[in-house]
Structure formats: C-alpha cells, structure tokens
C-alpha cells in the first residue's frame, strides 16, 4: 500500500498507487460518467466518456485507465468536457439504430442514462443508419447489433470471468461487430457456455434474454466483483 495524495476538482483526496483516477474519484463521491468501464472487468479506455483534465498534461486522459500520481491535479467536469461527453453520446445514438421506445432495455440502459445526465435533448448530427443484423440463433439469448455500442464488456467478461472467449470484435472502424467464435451464428458457437454473463453486463439492449419485452431487461451484475475476488483469492 503506497499512498498518493492528489486534488480532484479542488478537493484533497488520497488513493493507492495502484488505483485509477476513476476509482479514487468514486470513493470520494465524485461522479465521472462511464460506459465501457465496469467494476470487475479490465479497463480499455475506449468510450472516452471519462476523459478528464490533468494539470500539466496537454491531452485529456481517460480516468478509468490513468493511475493516480502524487500531487496530481484533476478536473473531472468543465463546460468543454461536458460538451465532448454529450457529443460522444450523441455520436453513439446516431451510429446505429437506437429506438428507446421499443427497446428491451428502456429505463435500464446506461446509454439512455448518460444521455439524460448530460442533457442530450435532441440530435444535431445526422443518423448513419447502417443495416446491421440481429442474431437470434442462440436458444436463450439474442444479440441485436442495432443497439450495440461496442463497449466490449461482453468480450471482456467472456474472456476474463467465464474464460470462454466466445466473443471478440470483427472488422474495423464503422464496420466493427462483436462476434461469437470466428463469426459463426451464436447458436452454433462451440465455446459458448450459455452462462449469460455477457447479457448481464451489456450496458444497452444489444444483448438480451429471449422472452423479455420492452423495458424488461434488468441487468444483474452483483456476481462480477464477487467472481473477480474469488479468482484473485485462488491465485
């Protein structure tokens, strides 16, 4: 345990050298919005929602992957950061086809929550409206790529917790898709254990259980930190 003291939004805080800005901020009730981050999974710094300003650094840093340092001075919210974050959410909404009113995750959606939090009341950017697939070949679960924001939580939980590595990312840029096995339909996957962890960690309604209707996809995630702790104990 090696203590680091730093300032976040003018408040003196302390954290362990191993901790990230995000962890220390949350311990101190300082809110930073996130999407790809989920406690219990590794962090990838991909959604960029948690970018913060650090004094003396000429770039914005993702709070989820930046370790605290002694004497650091962090600002987690400013009109500019707020604007950037709102644009990120707007971009995600416009990237695929998110229609809350018919979404299984309506009111249980982190994308929706972030939009509310950031005051995203309307869209200025044009929708990209790609034609993407829905794979309902699995007997219990469905992936609707229309609602996928490519946070890769499913990829990480499958690899790190279930250790099946059924999910991965295919192609690049706007063509990116999460895929099962080497792009075979989910129902034909040989590695999927049907554990459903991916469904539970999905921030939106992209992954859901069959039989759920609009607004019925409530996510249960309490298993995550528990499994992670168990895993660490075994090591």
């Amino acid at each position: 345990m090696s203590v680091r003291t730093l300032v976040i939004n003018g408040k003196d805080v302390a954290g362990d050298a191993d901790q990230t800005i995000l962890e220390v901020a949350r311990e101190n009730s300082i809110h930073i919005p996130t999407l790809c981050h989920l406690k219990g999974l590794s962090d990838v710094g991909a959604c960029r929602l948690c970018v913060v300003e650090v004094a003396g650094v000429n770039k914005l840093l993702a709070a989820c992957v930046t370790k605290v340092e002694e004497g650091m001075s962090v600002v987690t919210d400013s009109p500019t950061l707020h604007d950037y974050r709102r644009t990120i959410i707007e971009m995600l909404f416009m990237e695929r086809n998110h229609v809350c009113s018919v979404c299984v995750a309506n009111n249980h959606c982190e994308l929706q929550d972030a939009a509310k939090e950031l005051g995203l009341t309307h869209f200025d950017l044009p929708p990209l409206e790609p034609v993407v697939e829905v794979d309902a070949s699995h007997e219990r679960f469905v992936i609707d790529h229309n609602r996928c924001i490519l946070c890769t939580r499913c990829v990480r939980v499958c690899d790190e917790i279930e250790e099946a590595h059924t999910w991965d990312v295919f192609d690049r840029g706007a063509g990116c898709r999460v895929i099962t096995d080497m792009g075979t339909p989910w129902g034909e996957s040989r590695t999927c254990t049907s554990c459903g962890k991916c469904v539970q960690v999905c921030p939106t309604g992209a992954l859901f259980e069959k039989g759920r209707s609009v607004a019925e996809a409530k996510h249960r995630r309490r298993f995550l930190p528990y499994l992670r702790a168990l895993e660490q104990d075994q090591q």
């Binding site: 914005l60 930046t66 971009m91 990237e95 690049r172 840029g173």
Partner: protein
C-alpha cells in the same frame, strides 16, 4: 523463393576477380518496387545479354536499389560517368544499346552532375541506395557496412553508443520527432530481467509515402545493422521487423538479408565473435494502417487484434509481452550506422539545431521530378519543390504541399520559404510525418483533399474508441455533403466543433491527428469551403456539386 536460393549459391562462389585495367564503368539497374513494376528485371537481363555479346564482363551490369528518380523508371545509372538513362525499354535494342554504348565511352543519357535533383541531395540514409546490390551482403560490407556494428560490439560500451546517439540529436523519423537518444536511454534504464526487445516499425501506410519501402528494398542490411546496434545499446537480444504485407519485395529482401547476416556472423548468436547475440524475426502486417501506432503494432506482434491501448505505460517501460521495448522507424534505424561510424557531432552539424541530420521524403504529386529525395533538415520548401522537384508539371501554378499524410496538413504558397524542420512544419499547422510530400497545383480542390484523407481515416480507424470510429464518419459525411454542393451555413462551425472534439478525445494518434487535414485546409483555404457552401462552386472544378446542377 528460387531467387533467394540462387543468390545464396552465388555467395558461396569465389568472388569474381576484377579485370586488369582498373575499375570499369558499371550500369546500375534500379530494382526497387517502382522500377520493378516497369519491368526493370527485364532491363537487367537485356543489358546483361547485350553486354556479354559485346564482350563486357558480368560485373558491367548490376542490380541495385532505388535510384530515386521514380518518375523516369525503369532507370539505369552509370555512376562512373555521371549518366542516367530514363525509361529504358527492354524490348527496344536502341534503348539497351544506348546504355551499353555509354558503358564503352559514348555519350548519352542525362547528366546527373549538375542536375539539382541529384546535386542538391545529401545522402546519409540513402548513401548506398542505388550503389550496392540489396541482395548481396558482401557488397554492403565492401561499402563500409557492418563496420559500425563490429566496432560497437568489439570495442564500445553500450553507454558510449547511447551517448553518441544522444549527442547526434537524431529525432524519430516516424513522424513525431521524439529524441531517439532519450528513447534508447529510457529502454536501457528499464529493468529487463526477462529480456527486452527492439522493434523496427516498417508499417508505412501514409498515402503517397514510400520512403521506408525504398530503404528496405535498397539497403536492408543497413536497417538490420541499426537494429543490432540499438539492441546492443539498450540490452536487447531479440528484434522484430513489423513490415506490411503490401511490400513483398521488401519482405523478400529482408528475409534474405537476415539469412545472409546470420551466415556471416553479423546477426544471431555471438555477433562478430563476441558474447553479444541478437536475433531478428519478421512479422508481416495484415493491412491495417493503425498498426503503425506502436501499441497497436505490439498487440499485432503478440498475435492479438491490432488496436491501440492508452499510454502510459509507454513501450519503453512495458511493451512487447510487457517487457521494455524500443520501437523505432526504419529511417531512424538506418541513420544509426553512419552516426556510430562518424560520431554524433558529425551528424549534429548537418541540418538545423533542433532538427539535426537529413530527412528522406517521397516527393509525389504534380511535380516534375517525383521520386525519393534525401535533404538536410532546414532546406527551404521552395528548393524542394522548384529546384529538386523541378517545379510544377506544365508550369502550372503551385497551390500547396501536403506533408504528413492523413495526420498532416497543407502548406500554402505563402509559406514556401519556410525551412523544413519539425518545429516550422508544426507551426504552419502540418507535421513532418514520416516523409510523404504531395505537391498540388491549381487542379486540386482543398475540400476534396480534406475529404480524401478523412475517407482514409474513417476506413482505417480501428473502431475501438467512439470519437475516432464515429467522429471520422461524421466528419467525412460533412465534407462529402459540402463537395456535393449541399453545404449549409452552419456546416463549417459543426465541422470545426467535431474536429476539435475528435482531436481532443480520441484514444490514439490516429484519431487525435485525423482532423489535421481539415484544420489546415480551413486555415489556409477557408475561401474554398465558403465558395462550395455559399456559391455552390468548386473553384478547382474537381467536386461534382451535383445538387447545384439540379437546383
């Protein structure tokens, strides 16, 4: 592969004895990819056949690396006579004869002595390009090759090499210009009980850039030598060259070079009969531009998906397989042997104070002499375009030079007298980049140029982070809308706002620099954007402006 075998058998043959009568003129046939695509190998065969008929020795015709004047390919040079033959046609006896006649003393070809394209270049990285046979290690050694490495491992301490590289002031030639010596020192200091790595980044991918390809095709041994010296200095014993699959000739020559160097005891275990060992393997890229970004490159070598990760930690501390890793660009490593041979002070005296040394540029676009050039840092852009480059094709009006590819920007006519160095280019809103230099005249529309590069970036975005994955698509959409003549008054503000957001929030250098072409064209050619939007006119007549026709 039969080629490789043949060449290897050549190695085992006793060296051809020079004939009496001193050194003879020798025709150098450029066999880099540019000329090869124009049948340079047939030129070589035809010349050798004709030379034999005329009773000339086998050594009168030689395969070499890039002769730099790519526009005139296939090119043949007779350096002893200072003559260059352009567009040699293997099927034309006259064309072949003119070269052979010149070998025997007749006049012909283009004199290189007073030609500014050749005379104004200063060759350090390319000193042996077009001089040696890239597939023959003995030729490289005969021209001073591996002298620096042998000296290094037999009589110098790693610290001395680090000192020399620091003193040279060499900066990373991959684009960012990070001080090479400092990077080496960091890796040398990082504790690497489980080993360290040296990686040569040969994933050159900027549109219009072919410096690294030419260096690898022309002097592959020089890059290996630079890597081995770096490995000795930082304490690594394994190296990787990450080269893109689109460079098959470079890959082939690198493979051959590695095998030849290992046979000669200049790579592998016990280099130059010392305890120092260094192995080099090749890793082939699968066509992703983003793999030129160092953390994505490392992921790709590890066999994972080639996506960048946030830094820190920097590869110098935790890189390949979480071990300290030195990543340098091809040209950076190719500069090392001459720095070690001649000393850091010698190198520092070339170029400018903050940007010492020379830089290789791929000169392309609407310029007379397109090709590969190596110039001292600080040379004026005007000299590159109008002296070395020979001016604009057809005497048309110069408009801008694009440097740094999709991460760079455009430099307008007003800034032609600017010295070419890292700081000046950055100040002008562009970057040095890896060395692509595209010259544009009045026939280029700058909005179209910005759209082209954004199209490139959106296709090459790895898709990991949102601002780059979606932002580049949105930016491209806006630019496309403007070039279709459908731009609206608020579009420029949206364009700028999104560009700033993508630059500020993207994860890696690709996204952070993707808006640069937009910024720079807006800065210097805003009027072109305005006339697209307000007047529905493309001043250069490039953009389709379909809706203006309809309305």
């Amino acid at each position: 592969m039969t080629d490789v075998k043949d060449r290897e058998q050549d190695l085992d043959r006793p060296e051809a004895q020079p004939e009496a009568g001193g050194p003879r003129a020798c025709a150098h046939v450029c066999e880099a990819a540019g000329c090869m695509s124009l049948n340079a190998d047939q030129v070589f065969e035809a010349l050798r056949e004709r030379a034999t008929e005329r009773g000339l020795a086998d050594t009168a015709v030689k395969r070499v690396g890039c002769l730099r004047l790519c526009v005139a390919g296939p090119v043949v040079e007779i350096p002893e006579r200072g003559l260059l033959f352009e567009a040699v046609d293997p099927s034309s006896p006259e064309s072949i004869d003119s070269v052979i006649n010149a070998l025997q003393g007749s006049e012909g070809g283009r004199s290189t002595a007073d030609d500014p394209f050749f005379a104004r270049q200063v060759r350090i990285v390319l000193a042996n390009s077009g001089v040696i046979d890239p597939e023959d290690i003995d030729d490289y050694v005969a021209h001073g090759g591996y002298e620096a490495l042998t000296q290094t491992v037999t009589s110098k301490k790693p610290e001395e090499i680090l000192e020399e590289v620091v003193r040279s002031g060499l900066r990373g030639r991959g684009g960012a210009g990070y001080p090479t010596g400092l990077k080496w020192r960091t890796v040398a200091k990082s504790s690497g009980a489980e080993g360290k790595y040296v990686i040569c980044n040969a994933d050159e991918g900027d549109p219009g850039a072919f410096m690294d390809r030419s260096v690898l095709e022309s002097v592959p041994q020089q890059v290996l030598e630079g890597m081995a010296i770096a490995a000795y200095a930082v304490g690594a014993s394994q190296g990787y060259i990450y080269v893109r699959a689109e460079y098959p000739l470079a890959v082939k020559r690198l493979r051959l070079a590695i095998r030849q160097a290992e046979r000669s005891g200049l790579l592998g275990a016990n280099i130059a009969e010392t305890a120092f060992g260094f192995h080099v393997d090749i890793r082939i890229g699968a066509g992703a531009f983003v793999c030129g970004e160092e953390t994505a490159l490392i992921a790709s070598i590890e066999g994972r998906r080639g996506t960048p990760r946030p830094r820190p930690p920097f590869p110098a501390q935790s890189g390949l397989w979480a071990r300290p890793t030195l990543i340098n660009n091809v040209e950076t490593l190719a500069s090392i042997p001459s720095i070690v041979r001649n000393g850091g002070d010698w190198y520092r005296a070339i170029g400018t104070e903050k940007s010492p040394g020379t830089k290789v540029f791929a000169l392309a676009g609407r310029v007379v002499n397109t090709g590969l050039i190596e110039v001292p840092m600080g040379v004026k852009l005007r000299d590159i375009v109008f002296d070395i480059g020979g001016g604009i094709i057809g005497g048309a009006k110069f408009k801008a030079v694009q440097t740094g590819g999709p991460s760079g920007g455009c430099i307008p006519a007003d800034d032609l007298d600017m010295p070419v160095d890292y700081e000046s280019l950055a100040q002008a809103g562009s970057i040095m980049g890896s060395g692509g230099m595209i010259v544009m005249d009045e026939t280029s529309c700058m909005v179209d140029v910005a759209k082209y590069f954004m199209d490139f970036c959106k296709d090459e975005s790895c898709g990991k982070c949102v601002p780059c994955r979606v932002g580049t698509v949105q930016l491209h959409g806006l630019l496309d809308k403007i070039t279709r003549g459908e731009g609206e008054p608020g579009d420029l503000d949206t364009l700028e706002r999104l560009a700033v957001m993508v630059k500020s929030t993207s994860l890696c250098g690709l996204g952070q620099s993707a808006p640069n072409p937009v910024f720079s064209t807006l800065r210097y050619f805003r009027d072109e954007y305005v006339s697209h939007i307000e007047d529905r006119v493309c001043p250069a007549g490039v953009c389709p402006m379909t809706s203006s026709v309809a309305s």
